[in-house]
Structures are given as structure tokens and as C-alpha cells.
């Protein structure tokens, strides 16, 4: 069984209480597959309670990548959060653990 990590890599970061997660395809074929199937709804469902707000998806065909903006995902943001990862640096990694061929 493949995971999203087999098709993509990425990075996450913060802006206030909003996190963003990039998902960058490893090949053009991977990009076509990710673009078709990795919807904002699917990402929102994956994170569950971790992302109380909207998930917005942006497409970058030029670099074969998607950018997901996760609203309300950082426990108030870097200056207020009590989490051990207040910047959400680990959020990209766990998305890549998503089981892909299910």
C-alpha cells in the first residue's frame, strides 16, 4: 500500500493562527493523481479536530504542487500556543502519512 509520502514531499509553516502545508509531487504522474484526488475536503477530514476552521487548496501547475491553507490550526498562533510545536512544523509530515491506495 502506498502512502501520500510515496507520491509527494512538502513543508509546513505558520502565519498567525493559520498553518499552510505544501504537497509537492515527485513526478508529473504523481501530480496528476494528487491534483485529482487530494481535495480540500479530504485534507480537512484527515486533520479532524486539529484544524477547526476551513481548509483552502491552491494549485501550482507550474511546479506541480498544491498548497493547503489550514485556518485555526495553531492553537492561537506562535505567540499564544501551548503546543510543543507551536509553528506547526510537523503538520506536513503527518499529512504525507495518509494511506493513498484505499
Amino acid at each position: 500500500m502506498r502512502r501520500l509520502f510515496d507520491l509527494a514531499y512538502g513543508r509546513s509553516g505558520d502565519k498567525g493562527n493559520i498553518a499552510n502545508v505544501s504537497v509537492i509531487a515527485r513526478t508529473p504522474e504523481d501530480y496528476a493523481e494528487i491534483k485529482a484526488k487530494l481535495t480540500a475536503e479530504r485534507v480537512k477530514a484527515f486533520y479532524g479536530d486539529l484544524v477547526p476552521g476551513n481548509v483552502i487548496r491552491y494549485e501550482l501547475d507550474n511546479i506541480e504542487a498544491l498548497n493547503f491553507v489550514l485556518h485555526g490550526a495553531l492553537d492561537g498562533g506562535a505567540t499564544r500556543s501551548l503546543r510543543i510545536d507551536p509553528l506547526g512544523k510537523s503538520l506536513a509530515g503527518i499529512l504525507l502519512s495518509m494511506e493513498w491506495d484505499t
Binding site: K15, G16, S22, V69, G93
Partner: protein
């Protein structure tokens, strides 16, 4: 071609990575990006204790160790590490340079971003400072206990300083990528409505501004390509920018790390929202038209960036003190870790009865502290590392809270241990942020010069 080095991405970064760039003759200018909202609040605390402070300590290292070498080679330095007090930082730089025997050196300080003292006046002039997240208008600045209020300035005052021959430009809050855009405009004379080229400069700045993150740091794409020892001394990035706005992203030659199309993609999308409308004070940059092509070892060519007119208003970020947070870490082991976890929580809650503790959060490290319910937690782990975070309006309450918990040292759940460094730790500031916009006509950046 203009070769721009980046040697700082946050307050505390290793600014001496500028030295191999400068001494190796690899750059024409070096930029240092030091600020965040939290950094500005910390600098306010420094400044309240000593009015001659309010700038980052890194500026002292730059003045002492880097400026003499850069000045000897006529390489200008640009930094926003002036924080809340670029004027005092400029004086310190001048004094340091004079002591080192440098002569003919020009220090430029850029001010005008700090509007904290002007908030009531600006409100009277019609600025409502509508909260960008909630739409709420700022009630009365005087009642809000703000400790910082800074406008994100663009590149213009730095361009002015460079064109007037400054050897080092020290600013307060300038939008991160605009620090890097400024030397391009100063060299090439790009028009302020040449949106495509300004946007290209912003993309270069965005790729440079997090130093190590584009040369193998924080990189899933590069993690298997680096030697574990490399991360502690990555060679920081350099952009070779051409007059038409195209550029090559590379790194300091002869140093550890890697630049690839993959590391550039990772950094391009770092901390951005809509990639077709990346807002900066000087231009709205579009990241969706550019092309990345490999251009030899550790070199990536970037072309095709487009831009649109700059936003009408400037962004303002204000910070206010909301209290303090404190951390304690406990370990629990087999048998019956979950029962012990219950005992620990009960012990702490009872100890804090009557204390004005505001928030208490328990994290189970290694189990679900990063991903909460997304993680698959084991039913009966052999070890449980418990992190307790708690907050209060004043640091003394937190001190009392720690003392009361520790008084149960011999009455604790069986086999419990506590991380000694967390017991001896310091409270951390909690800062509330208010982001809004301000009319450009209400912001007047000022450049002043000191000479040795």
C-alpha cells in the same frame, strides 16, 4: 549581475555564516532578517529596562565581526535587526566601527515603522485598525496594553540609503523579502511600477529569507542527501540576480548543504497562502507563472515571475501582553501508566486550588502531542512522558504553582520523575496579536545617517 547573500533568518541565527560569503568574494551585498512579532515584544522588554536597547544582540556581532570585513571589500550590509530602536543600533555600530579604527563609513538608520506612540493620533485621524481576522475595529488603543505596533515597510527607504552610499543599513520592521529586494532596485533602477521585476525580486527574497531552509535545512527532500554533521554548518544561500529579474539561487561555495529544484519548491511554498497573490508592501507577486530549472551543481534558475500592483494599504501588526506560560515535564512508566497519569492530574489540580491559573493543558509526548487524534496511540505504552503547560497573568503565580506541585515529590504517583530543567525554567511571555491595515499617507519612513 548582483550577488545577494542571506545570513540571517531569525533572531538567534548564526550571522557569522556571512563570513565565508564575504571573505570568499562570493557576494556583492549581504542581508540579515531578524524579526518576528514575538521578537519585537522581547525587544520592548529590553528597551523598557534600558532605553538604549531595543535592538537585537545579533547587530553587535555584525558590527564587531562582519562589518570590518565587508567594509574593506565595499560590500554593504542590510539588516532589520534594529528592531524597535534602529537609531540606538546605528549609534552602537558607529561606536564599534570607530573603536575598530574604520574611517569613511556611513551607517543609515531607517525609522517610521513603530507607530505605538502614534496610535491615538492615528485613530483621531480616521484609522480604525480593523482586525484582519475578525473585522472588528480597534476600540481605544490606550486601553489595550499594546507593547508593539509596527508597520511593515517596503524597500524604498533602504534603496534611498544605499543610493546615498550607506555601508550598513539598519531598520526596524521591514517586510522580510523587501530587505532583499532593496539592493536590486538600488543597482538596477527598476521602476516602482515594474511589477514583474519587483515580483521577481520578492521571489528571490522569499527564497533567501529563511537562510538554511533553502539549502537543506528543514527539508524532507534533502534529508537523505546530507551528512548528519552538515546541518550545523550549512552554507547559507546566495542569489545571482540579473537586470531582467531572472536569477539563480545557489549557496556559499565550498560549504555543506544542497540547493536543488526540490529544496527551492519547498521554500517557495513556505508560509504562503494564495500563491497567485503574495502580498508585500511593494508588489503583489505571482508564484504560479515562474519556472524552475536546474543550472548545474547547487544552482537553480528562476524565471517567468509575474507581478501585479502593490496593495493599496500597508499591514500593521500590534502585540499586547496576555500573560505568561510555564512548562513541567513528568515521566511515568510501567505498570499502569494510565492510572498513574490520572493520579498525576488529580495531584496537580488539588495543588493549584485557589491559585489564579488560567489555562492548563496536558500533552503526552511521543503519543499524541503533535497530531492529537490523527495519531494512532498505543493502548498500554511502557512509558509516558507528560508535558503540562499552564498560564497565568503574572509570573509569580506560575512560580508558586511549580513550588506547590514539587512539594508532592515524595507523595507522587509511583516511579514518577520530573525533568529538572523544566522545574528550573523561566516563564514565557504570551502575546496577543492584532493585525490590521493603515493608509500609506499615514506612514513616513525616515532615513538618518551617522558617519565615522
Amino acid at each position: 549581475m548582483l550577488r545577494i547573500g542571506s545570513a540571517q533568518g531569525f533572531y538567534g541565527d548564526d550571522v557569522t555564516r556571512a563570513l565565508p560569503m564575504i571573505e570568499g568574494g562570493h557576494v556583492d551585498v549581504v542581508c540579515f532578517e531578524a524579526l518576528s512579532e514575538l521578537t519585537l515584544a522581547i525587544l520592548r522588554k529590553d528597551m523598557l529596562a534600558n532605553p538604549a536597547r531595543g535592538y537585537t544582540f545579533d547587530v553587535s556581532i555584525i558590527a564587531r565581526e562582519i562589518l570590518p570585513k565587508a567594509f574593506a571589500r565595499k560590500i554593504p550590509l542590510i539588516t532589520n535587526g534594529g528592531g524597535l530602536n534602529p537609531t540606538a543600533a546605528a549609534q552602537m555600530i558607529r561606536d564599534t566601527a570607530a573603536k575598530a579604527g574604520l574611517t569613511g563609513l556611513k551607517v543609515a538608520a531607517v525609522t517610521g515603522d513603530d507607530i505605538l506612540a502614534r496610535l491615538p493620533e492615528l485613530q483621531a485621524a480616521g484609522e480604525r485598525f480593523l482586525n484582519m481576522d475578525t473585522g472588528e475595529a480597534l476600540a481605544d488603543a490606550a486601553n489595550q496594553a499594546f507593547v508593539t505596533a509596527n508597520v511593515y515597510l517596503g524597500a524604498a527607504p533602504i534603496v534611498e540609503a544605499l543610493q546615498n552610499g550607506a555601508d550598513i543599513v539598519i531598520t526596524g520592521r521591514v517586510a522580510d523579502p523587501c530587505l532583499y529586494l532593496a539592493p536590486m532596485i538600488a543597482k538596477y533602477g527598476w521602476a516602482w511600477d515594474d511589477w514583474d521585476r519587483l515580483a521577481a525580486g520578492i521571489v528571490a527574497g522569499h527564497l533567501l529569507e529563511c537562510t538554511g531552509q533553502v539549502v537543506g535545512g528543514n527539508s524532507i527532500a534533502a534529508m537523505n542527501l546530507l551528512d548528519p554533521a552538515d546541518l550545523a554548518h550549512l552554507g547559507y544561500p546566495i542569489a545571482h540576480v540579473h537586470e531582467d529579474g531572472t536569477f539563480v539561487l545557489t549557496k556559499t561555495p565550498g560549504t555543506a548543504g544542497c540547493v536543488s529544484v526540490e529544496t527551492v519548491k519547498e521554500q517557495l511554498l513556505y508560509e504562503i497562502h494564495d500563491p497567485a497573490h503574495y502580498l508585500t508592501p511593494d508588489v503583489t507577486a505571482n508564484f504560479t507563472t515562474l519556472r524552475l530549472t536546474p543550472d548545474g551543481e547547487n544552482r537553480v534558475r528562476v524565471a517567468g515571475v509575474t507581478g501585479e500592483p502593490r496593495p493599496e494599504k500597508l499591514k500593521v501588526s500590534m502585540g499586547r501582553m496576555e500573560g505568561y506560560m510555564r512548562e513541567l515535564i513528568f515521566t511515568l512508566g510501567y505498570p499502569a501508566v494510565w492510572r498513574k497519569y490520572e493520579l498525576l492530574q488529580g495531584m496537580i489540580a488539588e495543588s493549584w486550588k485557589g491559585l489564579p491559573i488560567e489555562r492548563v493543558v496536558y500533552h503526552r509526548l511521543g503519543i499524541d502531542s503533535l497530531f492529537e487524534k490523527v495519531s494512532v496511540a498505543p493502548d498500554y505504552p511502557d512509558e509516558l512522558v507528560v508535558r503540562v503547560m499552564f498560564t497565568a497573568a503574572d509570573p509569580d503565580t506560575l512560580k508558586t504553582a511549580v513550588r506547590r506541585v514539587m512539594a508532592n515529590g515524595l507523595s507522587c504517583p509511583p516511579g514518577m520523575s520530573v525533568s529538572g530543567s523544566t522545574v528550573g525554567g523561566d516563564p514565557r511571555v504570551i502575546l496577543g496579536l492584532w493585525s490590521s491595515l493603515i493608509g500609506r499617507d499615514h506612514v513616513q519612513p525616515l532615513v538618518t545617517y551617522l558617519e565615522v
